[in-house]
Subunit: 460 residues, 2 copies
Amino acid sequence: MNTQPPTQPLPTQPAATTDLIDTIEQSLSSRDLAAASAALSPISTRQMVQVLDRLSPHQCAIVYRLLSKQRAVEVFEDLSPELQGELVRGLQDAEVAALFEEMDPDDRVWLLDELPASVAPRLLRGLSPHERELTASVLGYPRDSIGRRMSPEYVTTHPELTAAETLRRLRARIDDAETIYTLPVTDSARRVVGVVSLRDLLAADDDTLVDAMMQDAHTALADADAETAARDCTDRGLLAVPVVDSEGRLVGILTIDDAVRILKREENEDAARQGGVEPLGRPYLSTPIRRIVRSRVVWLLVLAVGATLTVQVLSVFEATLEQLTVLALFVPLLIGTGGNTGNQAATTVTRALALGEIRPRDLLRVLSRELRVGVSLGVLLGLLGFAITALVYDWQIGLVIGCTLVAVCTVAATIGGIMPLVARMIRVDPAVFSNPFITTFVDATGLVIYFVIAKAILGI
Amino acid sequence: MNTQPPTQPLPTQPAATTDLIDTIEQSLSSRDLAAASAALSPISTRQMVQVLDRLSPHQCAIVYRLLSKQRAVEVFEDLSPELQGELVRGLQDAEVAALFEEMDPDDRVWLLDELPASVAPRLLRGLSPHERELTASVLGYPRDSIGRRMSPEYVTTHPELTAAETLRRLRARIDDAETIYTLPVTDSARRVVGVVSLRDLLAADDDTLVDAMMQDAHTALADADAETAARDCTDRGLLAVPVVDSEGRLVGILTIDDAVRILKREENEDAARQGGVEPLGRPYLSTPIRRIVRSRVVWLLVLAVGATLTVQVLSVFEATLEQLTVLALFVPLLIGTGGNTGNQAATTVTRALALGEIRPRDLLRVLSRELRVGVSLGVLLGLLGFAITALVYDWQIGLVIGCTLVAVCTVAATIGGIMPLVARMIRVDPAVFSNPFITTFVDATGLVIYFVIAKAILGI
């Protein structure tokens, strides 16, 4: 009879971690390292990572040095590459070398990508020859390729082996592999001819040949874009995807948890850029204010400079405005609606691009769809705008507002829809070219449309 | 010697699928079903899913009926719940019942959630008793809970069993389980006392007790929020998480691929709402224009009604505008910059909320951070704005623009930063309350600030 108490569900432990951080911050600010050390000793590795995540970089370095050597290695492995990078810059060479040797080759490359290029060769020289070779094989691939994110540690089997032989082979080399749940099947030239799942191996009779139970391999080219390969892996719900070179030879394996990690990073970048900020790369509450300002100021300046276009457009129509000040009242409403329509289109198309639903060659189809959507939205809003303005002001102003809404919505939806595709074509991140950018552009265009229509209808 | 040719890497096959869709669309529009059928017969299940994804709902239903019975079941299982729902509405009861019996219990619940509530009891009655019971156990949990997304099919082991016994047990029941790579360890009361990985089972000696090799279970409460539990699973890189009731008893299992699916859906919704559109729920190119318009028009109307606030604010200051039309020139620039600053703050905070980095109780910390960020950005932009406007116009106008930028950036960053937290507090999706909403709100506030400052400095 087992009398162990049940493990309690501990989904996030928010309160405990927050209190802990308060205690540690207090100990640090009163320079009481013994108290901080005491507060840290009972907590789990996972919680330790959460604590470091929420401390400032400076506090992080102090706390990290309070950990025992064994503990430090465990915690370090679980940190995000950015935080690892920050810590490494504060540690001594010998300490870094020890940590570096302990890491998996793919995690090592994530870290190297965070560090200044000059540091990499020094760190690599410190590795044992076997680890150095594994790491170098991953480092050989371009920065955004899946080759750079794969694990070079895998166990394979061959078509002519039996299930039992494969299981024995697997058990003998179980510590060397990133995953054992999907095994690539290779021929004598190391080319991938299929995959076999551990589930099928266990379900099969001992003497069933791998040849008889392997399935077609869904592979990824090592030079292929990391995000595309990762999305492909998770879309298909594959636990692991063999990574091959241009000859179809196995060079590594991408596991679903690494695929998730790659996508999460991309999502973060996209979400940030869509709102006109650079990704912070570390948790919000522990990011210095200075760094948050830096992540936003460049975009804000670029957009403000773009917005001076609206000042120029309005200057051109200044005489019209002096004649009829009432026109000024509708400027924010009209350009705001244009901006919203443009953003809606851009959001939908950017997302569809990211999910691979559309490609740049679909430009004309997107154009025709957004044109129709824009006209529909414009007519709906325009009729409403006409009715209300005609009631409150007069029917001529109503007509100007109604017609402007139709035109602005159509132009905005079309521009917003094709802009992400154009960005992709000229190889810029579509999320960069997105909402705030479109707003600014649509603002200026909308003003021109507004005053041209006003002058035509009102005859001024 | 195996002479099979190497499997070619087939990451997405864009060209092939696109051509295929063209062929099928042509066959359908010329009502040549035989040609469509011929085009479909050689393609893989996966490609078939891609084809259906890109056809209109009407075309989808026709093509689906051309498939053989066996084929249809395979394809149906791989479709998204939305597309399944669309198809089901077009099929006969007997056809639906046959499909429904073949599905996994968790997939069945995804589908039921897409169908009108009245359909569910009829479909459930058609199931075999065992399948009905499994499905009902999942359906018993609330809509957004992880209980509703878990699989009720799992294999467990017990602390007093050996590695060899567990492996035998596993092999005997291998077809019943959603995953075999992480086994929950339960006591006699079905409470989860740990987990053991298949890797550890295979690496261990035959007579090692499970008790000796099991690890602490990271579990999820069945009633817990599905997104939080899924994020927790992927953040930790766990292949599977046992789902337990409030007593700690095992009720199901959440696998990483299902966790990824839950998060993908949430990301899509968030990305859509952030841009002021309702999620389409199906691929962009195959969504009818009508439905795209519907996904945008409500938000656009709400925002336009909100924007009438700006018209009212400007009406109040109409006399000032008539006196000094030059003030109107800067309106789009000023409110645009305010909107951008607010969006940046909202994007950062919404993301941090979604990732669990901050919680509503951090409101004051966020407020103080965004206040400081806003002032910093405002001073930078304000100095620049003052310099340029003073040069081009005169120093008094320059002073108005400079001071307004400082005030608007501060207010916008603060509002943008706390709005997502307020949304969360009143239990609204923070992404809804987001960028377009903040833009509209900041527009009106910005105008008031602008004219108040202008009147004070210019003495009008």
